[in-house]
């Protein structure tokens, strides 16, 4: 618990951030509960077939994927109630023809430590959900619409957060205010949010993740029992019960 407090700033700031995020979540849930069509959705599924209405079937063909690009994924075949336009940032090349992409979030505030406030003005690009990184092939990326580029600094910050959640690297001090609060309580609604967002990306991109997946410590403040035992092996005052 202490380590988490230190890593993600003071508790008051964390609570403030969480309250802002929860306000959006409440609105999202309330609005999502309203039928969005006049008639009930049964087999609603945004398909990928395109009629001749001026939509380029391979919009990114000829535009080689590159680090820093922001691309809009084509609609995935998914329950319409839960889908949305998904913008992703290309953070690095993971292989000859594969790239690590990270989606931008739905909300204005970061939800968990793996989410980074970008500072960008465009509403769909306010939060980078680094924890939800996926691997995309060059071919799949070429089917996504190229929209703009983000600054190299933001790419670096995104990769720093990735290293933090996947490898346990220390988070830069200046990034602490820009990431979300830790996820600790079992009844926290962010668990549902995490699952919803993971599934959205899995449907759009596939199941392949970058090599190191976010470890559970990124979400849960797991105590370190080894350290605890080392610190606790005292026994009665004046006696060392660890002695042979």
């Amino acid at each position: 618990m202490t380590a988490v407090s230190g890593t993600y700033g003071c508790r008051l700031a964390q609570r403030r951030k969480l309250e802002l995020w929860l306000a959006e979540w409440r609105a999202y849930r309330a609005i999502a509960a309203v039928p969005f069509l006049e008639r009930p959705v049964t087999a609603g599924c945004l398909g990928v077939n395109v009629r001749d209405v001026g939509v380029d079937a391979a919009p990114g063909a000829g535009q080689v994927p590159d680090v820093g690009q922001v691309r809009l994924l084509r609609p995935g075949c998914m329950d319409m109630e839960r889908t949305r336009p998904v913008y992703v940032a290309v953070l690095r090349q993971t292989g000859g023809t594969s790239w690590m992409v990270v989606p931008f979030g739905r909300f204005a505030d970061p939800a968990i430590p793996g989410e980074l406030r970008t500072g960008l003005r465009a509403l769909p690009l306010r939060v980078l959900c680094v924890w939800n990184a996926h691997v995309m092939t060059q071919e799949a990326l070429a089917r996504a619409w190229l929209c703009r580029k983000i600054a190299a600094g933001l790419v670096t910050r995104g990769l720093t957060v990735w290293r933090h959640i996947s490898e346990g690297a220390v988070l830069d001090r200046d990034l602490i205010p820009r990431v979300g609060p830790p996820l600790e309580h079992p009844l926290d609604p962010r668990h549902a949010y995490v699952q919803e967002e993971r599934e959205l990306l899995d449907v759009h991109i596939g199941f392949e993740r970058p090599e190191v997946v976010p470890r559970s410590e990124a979400f849960y403040a797991i105590p370190e029992p080894e350290f605890r035992r080392a610190a606790e092996r005292r026994g009665e005052y004046g006696r060392d019960d660890g002695a042979e």
Binding site: L18, F36, V50, G54, V55, L123, P186
Partner: protein
């Protein structure tokens, strides 16, 4: 009533102002109607109080719709229009219905952002107000419960006892979880969606059932604290629940490593147990 040709014209001409009279009249009407529909669902919880006075004019609603997903002014920044049209020919929908269903999806986000910016009660909410979507023993949990106080469990004897209690409770909670619930927690901690083929295969059920098992597991863990420590203050229960949940996740990952069906789920997980 608007037609597909109106939507197509809007897409081709880049902005509504450049469209013919029909499109300029009909499309904002559609967006305004959907905007009002969604705003009424949430307006009551904002500072506005009721939907009356919350809903903007037709032209303002359209402007917000047209700019919300726009990244910048050039055509590259308006690719969301291609997204709308790429969803055509969907199962069970005509082309026009598909475009309008997509537009309705976008309008939901537009309305949420509009209410957040214009009528937010975010600066007036108490830290102890209930957090949506979570409750314990019928009472909504507060933000304070979700992020309990700065308990350094290594500081004092009492705190170490507190930690030991959570560890002991975790064993009981873990024992109460059935196989499916453990797999759901394991997949979640491993960074996988519950629709992931490995998770679905290991659990031997569909993703909906696995989702239900996941939420069931979370509630079981939380309920365990309430059952074992009914007399404790809510803040103590919250701290215990967080500590215990971390231990349960550790136990689940250890369990997963010993189960043949679950080993693939544990790949990439780095727990120091």
């Amino acid at each position: 009533m608007q037609t597909l040709a109106n939507w197509q014209e809007w897409k081709d001409r880049c902005a509504l102002a450049l469209c013919g009279e029909d499109a300029r009249r009909l499309l904002p009407g559609f967006v305004h109607a959907r905007f009002s529909h969604f705003a009424q669902a949430y307006a009551g919880t904002t500072n506005a109080g009721t939907a009356f006075g919350v809903i903007p004019s037709s032209s303002e609603a359209w402007h917000r719709f047209e700019t919300h997903f726009q990244l910048h002014d050039s055509p590259g920044g308006k690719k969301y229009k291609d997204w709308l049209f790429a969803g055509m020919e969907t199962r069970g929908y005509s082309a026009q219905e598909s475009v309008e269903a997509g537009a309705s999806l976008l309008i939901r986000d537009v309305v949420r952002e509009y209410l957040r910016r214009e009528f937010s009660n975010r600066r007036m909410v108490s830290m102890s107000q209930g957090a949506a979507g979570c409750s314990g023993a019928g009472e909504p949990l507060s933000v304070e419960d979700l992020l309990p106080g700065t308990t350094d469990t290594r500081c004092t004897v009492e705190d170490r006892e507190f930690d030991a209690m959570a560890r002991l409770d975790a064993e009981g909670a873990f024992a109460a979880l059935d196989r499916r619930e453990r797999i759901a927690l394991l997949a979640h901690a491993a960074g996988l969606s519950l629709a992931h083929p490995q998770a679905v295969k290991a659990a031997g059920c569909g993703r909906s059932t696995l989702n239900a098992a996941f939420h069931g597991a979370l509630h079981k863990v939380a309920a365990c604290v309430r059952e074992r420590h009914p007399g404790e203050a809510a803040s103590v229960q919250a701290t215990l629940a967080c500590l215990m949940f971390a231990y349960v996740n550790r136990l689940v990952s250890l369990w997963g490593k010993s189960e043949n069906d679950c080993v693939s789920l544990c790949k990439g997980m780095r727990t120091s147990a």
